[in-house]
Symmetry: C2
Amino acid sequence: MHKQQKVTATLLTIGDELLIGQIVDTNSAWMARELVKQGIQVVRRIAIADDRAAITDALDAELAAVDVVLMTGGLGPTADDITKPTLADYFGTTMRTDEKVLQHVKSFFEKRKKPMLERNLRQAEVPEKCTVLFNEKGTAPGMWFEKAGKIVVSMPGVPHEMMHLMETQVLPRLEARFSLKPLLYKNLLVGGEGESFIAEHIKDLEENLPPYIRLAYLPSLGYLRLRLTCNESDREGIEAEIESWSDKIAQRLGKYLVSQNDLPMPEILAGMLTKVGLRLGLAESCTGGYLAHLLTQIPGASNYLQGSLVCYQAEAKIRLLGVSLKTIQDKGIVSEAVALAMARGAAQTLRADIGLGITGWLDKEGDDKAAGGTVCVAITMGDRHESKTFHFANDRLRNKELAAQNAFLLLIRFLKAHFLG
Amino acid sequence: MHKQQKVTATLLTIGDELLIGQIVDTNSAWMARELVKQGIQVVRRIAIADDRAAITDALDAELAAVDVVLMTGGLGPTADDITKPTLADYFGTTMRTDEKVLQHVKSFFEKRKKPMLERNLRQAEVPEKCTVLFNEKGTAPGMWFEKAGKIVVSMPGVPHEMMHLMETQVLPRLEARFSLKPLLYKNLLVGGEGESFIAEHIKDLEENLPPYIRLAYLPSLGYLRLRLTCNESDREGIEAEIESWSDKIAQRLGKYLVSQNDLPMPEILAGMLTKVGLRLGLAESCTGGYLAHLLTQIPGASNYLQGSLVCYQAEAKIRLLGVSLKTIQDKGIVSEAVALAMARGAAQTLRADIGLGITGWLDKEGDDKAAGGTVCVAITMGDRHESKTFHFANDRLRNKELAAQNAFLLLIRFLKAHFLG
């Protein structure tokens, strides 16, 4: 079997819905991440229509440029899905019915007690000259084609089906097929300042990086990731060298460093709360349940999250959280004093060790225009407490995201200062 | 000025972060939607690296094929952003400093009380031969180039900056530049059955559609959109014809039709609740605040949402929502009886007209493996109530999404049945 060193790939997504903007393509980011980890360089991501000529033109162009084309989409049971016959023609082969897939499709519908239709049965038809990638998560199988040393894989566009096929079949096959050098990388999570400031802050370190280690700035709403990468995984001592640069940068970042772990903020928090064995209770006003939603995306959240009291009305803040009317009148409904009272109310009502309260105006065009974008967060535990006011200058949805990430950041710092210092 | 009929576009996204999968590209979907509405056909979406050769190769290829190339990304202040100098070279022009942009960048940092750096000042440098698209939302301006009748626009990749530039400058300029026929379309929101079933249910209607009206199936988690489109907006009576087909399909869909409005489920609910003047209170267990989060994404949610009691622990369900221990012991924590008690508790505690309770196991691998994916939803208002049990077969995150959309669907049907029939 032919083995080679540098392997390049194109991600090709098929579907009118992408070109009319009906759906956001989350598949490509996931696929790119997995391929890069294995040492396959993604050079292009392309989305085209459910159109024969567009598919064959794209395959011609990409197969001339890269080693692997991973296609998703266009394998559904409706009339507008034409990827499968187009691929059969492209590779000069006819269709056959795959018995294993056919039995699977039948039992898929039986189990769900849904009527099976002629068009569903056709999902068991596959091109003669391809390796069928059996899809136990859905009814459309994946297909693996080879032509002149190049590889074309077609997978369904449904994210969990694609992911399952990638993990169980496509990635292992690619690994066996090529001699891959996995990418080495290390991410640092940074909060509290933006891209330009951090870049200046670590400028001399960045300038002294060896040529085979790259530093990238990956900004998100409310935080920033610094990414050190090296694609020469066979270089002697390279892992230790990356670690050492990561440590140097981490030290320089000081208070701006959130974590040297490559995890989303809620997962970092989950890890910390589990480690210190403390239970969290939330009182949310402007974030409207978003903090609790993010924390409960993680399996096992019930081990550290008591719950959240989403009180969208002042009356409920008084009645359920014990915020005093006087505090609201004196300090305003968006104030650190109210946030703190909410945090205390959450800890008490939800019987949590730590309470977090958040109140704010997300919209620029609110009752109080001057205060639009103002968000107050408070954290309390016993007689320790902390609070902070933020001013965000964006629209409602972005301000909500910023509020959530900054609330998590404040909580991470609180835990670090008091328990993990 | 040259005017033409059919205008095609490519969306070209620049940035290593897309090829290593660090971020999900939400820009392209938004841009595609806006362009399609204006009558511009998006034929390709491409993502490439921050790499000179990749950018110029892509421009060569796309300008040979389409009328307009809309680029995003690669305009940041850090060293890896090279789009601007590459474009200047590509269009054979030098750089100049734009005074208006320079003043804007300076005041941008003054207002935020952030130190301004040399690299930020360079954001005011623009190619000589381009129309500067002033960006009041950020520090990187957009750029509009023309060459041999083709148009290339470069915009920052930050979503709200790109959206603002598109809305205020790019779309109006494209409209003025070309004679566009806006796409006519009509969406129907469908719930309760999947793509294959619905396709079969309306098969004969679909077969009788005139050739200039297309029907597409756009499945999401928990619901489905049917989209009727026609790009012959000058055809006589076409709007009425699309409406009439939409009505025919809606009638056939019957109970599966959720709405003939092109809105997300939470916005449909917001409209209904506002119309009937009823206030909603939520009690969330497995969705962990996600229902409240989705509803509070919409401005004005305080007009119909009282709040949500996210009770992640059985103890809190008993103490805060008044669920009886006996019900939990007899029926199980995931049961319609508990969901109904939670709904009643939410209505009472939050002083809402309608209560919605939801409890379930999202993970397949839970304490009770057989029950993984089981979710119970209940709705109550006075002496009227309704409840339903769902069995979802996916992973945690997808099951949460399915739980939320199906809870909304149940509530929409409840409101239709009792108030909007």
